[in-house]
Every structure is written in structure tokens, then in C-alpha cells.
């Protein structure tokens, strides 16, 4: 091992009470030349106030167009250990449930063939294994796949679907988020590993409107659990909340976005027809309120982070869809959406941007979904209503 790199600028990032990635990198650098050079390269980036990484290129494993993100240093002579520093994305288990055995397995492979540094997890949800050389990629893939792991999505492809913990640990989940995620991952293997889209496409599945994985803001297609029917009320429990000091009018009634709740000091009433199923009241009074009736999901489309045209939130396209195996309805709808995107999408145009450019009307007509008052672009906006010339005659 060569001498530890001096990092006066990075050392500043170790100050303060919170954990520091620099400290973790230093631990890895004590036993890995690659991590030691990574520290040096990062220090150089801070010193020069510019990145020294080049991104992309032709790295990958045979047959796959995603899962490996090529990264190279533009100063390899100074930091030979990170001349190649490719990232490997590994498809995480649904809702990130691991056994310690499986984590040891992944880390063992990575200590042997990579820098030993990981990021659990990337924003799409995959396990991110940071830094390896081109010649190790096929071996890493073989080691992972022989143990039942697979690479995740990257590039212009379906990204690894992800979900909240769902019914595994949450009593409020209206759908089996884990099974839906697994089923979508299995169904769309080709779309994930063989990039053929104009740009990325993400599925995220949340069990209820609390939306713990922020599907509505981050997924091109958000599947969010909901219900059809009246909220069940246990009036005795409502009274208990009041007795224990909850200001029901301030915390529940006045916070309801559709003002569909009333409370007269004795009884809580909900106008279920006006309820938007936001979950606020249910999560505040968990013992008194719970969803009732049929369970399913709302399907939303189009959110993404700022890129070509700035950030967008998802819009509802199907207010209620039954979500039962084998989830044929969502899979068929997805294929129609992709057909339209493939036909009209420009390079690097997300589905939400295309809907913005071509119009929701064209989109809904193509995918065969009727306009519905629940289809609003953003809160407190008019719904979409479309009449064709023929319908007006």
C-alpha cells in the first residue's frame, strides 16, 4: 500500500456531528489502493473546483445495455487507481429487505473485485457498487448472477422498479407493493436490460397516499394504493383521542384538503363523496379511522426531476385500478404508454415532457383511457375535459 493521500479540503467535511462520507472513504482507503486514489482524485476536484470524471462510453456486460455506468478519470496519470472507476447497479429486493448473509455476499464480491465502497441505495433504489475496472465487469456479473442477483437498469431503459415496505410492515397498505414490484420487474426484463426507450422510465409503487417512496414526485409511472368506499369510523376511539388532548378541529377537520370532515364535539362525520383519500386523517387517528371497501391503486404518469423542462409532478390517468396478480391491466396499459412514447418521443424526452408537448388529449386517446374529473394537472386546477369535433355534433 502506498502512503495515505493528504486531503486538507476533504478533512473539513468530517467536522460536525453527522456521519461523513469522507471518514468512510478513509476507512476503505486504508485497505484499498483504489479508494486511496479516489480520495486523492476527489481532493483534486475540490482544489481545481471542477470535476475530473468522464462519464459514459462503451463499458457493460455482454448482452446488457444497462447496469454498468462507465466512469473514467481525466487525470489517470496522477491517480492510476481510479483511471477506471465504473459503477455497478444491482437490482435490490422489493422494499430493500435483506438478510445479513446476502449483504455479506454482495460486500464480499465487491471487496474482491471493486473498491469496497457502496451506496445503499441510489435514488432509483438499486444497490450502488462504486468503482471497478473494465476487466472485472464480466467476472462481477458472473459472481452476482450465479448467486441469484441481477443488474439494475440504467441509460434509456426501464429503471429498476421500487416500492415502499407495503403490507410487509405497514397495516395501511392498500396493495401488495412488493409483489407488484417483483411482477413488473420480471415482466419487463427486456425493457430494463436492453435500452430501447427515448429516455429513462421509472415505476414506483406506494401502498397508500402517504407515498413513502415519493412516487408522485419521482416516478414516470406512480402506482399508489387507494380504496373505494367509506372510511370506517370508531366514534369511541375518536372520543378517546379528544380526551387525550387532541384538538380534532385544528388537527383533523381544518387540515382536510377537501373539507369533507366535520366534528361537533361528540361525533366525527366524513362526506366520503368529497374525500380525496389523502390519508391525513387516517394517519393522525390510526385507532379511530381506517379505509373501507374495495382496495386498488391510482395510476399516475409523468413526474421527473428538473432536466430538459424543469421538474413535474405526476398526473392521474386511472383513478382506480384493481391490483391483483398477474396485474395484466397495468402491464397492458404500460405497453400502450410505451408505444405512444416510442412513436413521438424525442431523444432524452421523458414521458411527462412528451405529454406536456403533445397534450393530454392525444395521450389519453392513444392509450384508450376516457377523461375523468380526477385527472388534474396539479392541486386546485381544473380537470381535463375533451370533446372531439364528432362528439360536439
Amino acid at each position: 500500500m502506498s502512503e495515505m493521500r493528504k486531503t486538507p479540503l476533504l478533512d473539513d467535511l468530517e467536522k460536525g456531528p453527522w456521519p461523513s462520507f469522507v471518514t468512510e472513504m478513509k476507512k476503505a482507503a486504508a485497505k484499498s489502493e483504489m479508494s486511496n486514489d479516489l480520495l486523492g482524485a476527489l481532493e483534486q476536484c475540490y482544489k481545481d473546483k471542477k470535476t475530473h470524471w468522464k462519464h459514459g462510453g462503451i463499458v457493460g456486460v455482454r448482452g446488457y445495455g444497462g447496469g454498468v455506468i462507465g466512469r473514467y478519470s481525466d487525470i489517470p496519470e496522477q491517480f492510476p487507481g481510479v483511471a477506471h472507476f465504473h459503477t455497478v447497479r444491482v437490482n435490490q429486493p422489493s422494499a430493500w429487505f435483506y438478510k445479513t448473509d446476502s449483504l455479506r455476499e454482495i460486500c464480499g464480491i465487491w471487496d474482491k473485485y471493486g473498491s469496497g465502497l457502496t451506496n445503499f441505495h441510489g435514488s432509483t433504489g438499486d444497490m450502488i457498487l462504486l468503482g471497478t475496472k473494465t476487466e472485472n465487469l464480466e467476472t462481477i456479473f458472473a459472481e452476482l448472477s450465479s448467486r441469484g442477483w441481477d443488474l439494475g437498469g440504467s441509460g434509456s431503459a426501464l429503471r429498476t422498479p421500487s416500492c415502499c415496505v407495503g403490507p410487509a410492515r405497514c397495516e395501511w397498505s392498500n396493495i401488495d407493493t412488493l409483489d407488484i414490484t417483483y411482477s413488473l420487474t420480471e415482466e419487463f426484463q427486456d425493457e430494463m436490460h436492453r435500452p430501447a426507450f427515448p429516455y429513462k422510465y421509472k415505476f414506483k409503487v406506494s401502498g397508500c397516499a402517504v407515498d413513502c417512496v415519493a412516487a408522485i414526485a419521482r416516478a414516470d409511472c406512480a402506482i399508489i394504493g387507494t380504496w373505494k368506499g367509506d372510511i370506517k369510523i370508531d366514534q369511541a376511539e375518536v372520543q378517546r383521542y379528544a380526551k387525550n388532548g387532541m384538538d380534532i378541529n385544528a388537527e383533523i377537520v381544518n387540515m382536510c384538503p377537501t373539507k369533507c370532515i366535520t366534528y361537533n364535539g361528540k361525533e366525527l362525520k366524513i362526506e366520503n363523496e368529497d374525500c380525496s383519500r389523502c390519508m391525513h386523517c387516517i394517519t393522525k387517528m390510526t385507532k379511530a379511522l381506517r379505509p373501507g371497501g374495495e382496495r386498488g391503486a391510482t395510476i399516475l404518469i409523468g413526474s421527473h426531476a428538473p432536466f430538459v423542462k424543469g421538474a413535474q409532478l405526476s398526473q392521474v390517468i386511472v383513478p382506480f385500478m384493481k391490483m391483483e396478480p398477474p396485474y395484466t391491466e397495468i402491464k397492458e396499459l404500460t405497453r400502450k404508454i410505451w408505444e405512444w412514447w416510442d412513436e413521438y418521443g424525442k431523444n432524452r424526452e421523458r414521458i411527462g415532457e412528451l405529454i406536456e408537448r403533445k397534450g393530454m388529449r392525444d395521450f389519453l386517446e392513444y392509450i384508450g383511457v376516457d377523461p375523468h374529473p380526477a385527472m388534474i394537472k396539479e392541486p386546485r386546477r381544473d380537470p381535463f375535459y375533451f370533446w372531439t369535433t364528432d362528439e360536439l355534433k
Binding site: 459514459g56 462503451i58 455482454r62 434509456s156 431503459a157 435500452p195
Partner: protein, 72 residues
């Protein structure tokens, strides 16, 4: 049309575009299916074989493309 013939057409298209335009998988599927009058799924299958054989590779330059691998 035989699969080998489709594969040749795909390879020819990618070869012709070298240095001019990077082709996406969907560009190839659209062009070949229109030219040969065959379903896109057939083109997709043939392209998959070319990739699996290592005759073509995926690359990433701000988007995913299909290209001929560099000579070693």
C-alpha cells in the same frame, strides 16, 4: 425473411451510420421493419442475437445507442 438476413440488414445499417449518426435501438427497429416490411418484434429478436453474440454493443453517450464494438 430469415433471421440471418435481418441480422445482416441491421449490421449493415449500423455500419453505414458509423461516424454520421448514433442509432438508438428503436431507430433500428423502426427503419428495418419499414424497409423489410416485417414486424418490429422480428427486428428486436435479431438485434438481441447480434448483441448477445457481441457483434453489436450498447453504448451510452447521454442516451443509449447501438454500435459496432471497437477493434481490440
Amino acid at each position: 425473411m430469415e433471421k440471418e438476413e435481418i441480422k445482416q440488414k441491421i449490421y449493415g445499417l449500423v455500419e453505414k451510420s458509423v461516424g454520421k449518426k448514433k442509432l438508438k435501438s428503436s431507430d433500428i427497429q423502426k427503419t428495418i421493419s419499414a424497409e423489410a416490411g416485417i414486424a418490429r418484434d422480428e427486428v428486436k429478436d435479431a438485434l438481441r442475437e447480434l448483441i448477445d453474440e457481441g457483434k453489436l454493443i450498447y453504448t451510452y453517450f447521454g442516451g443509449s445507442f447501438v454500435e459496432i464494438p471497437p477493434k481490440q
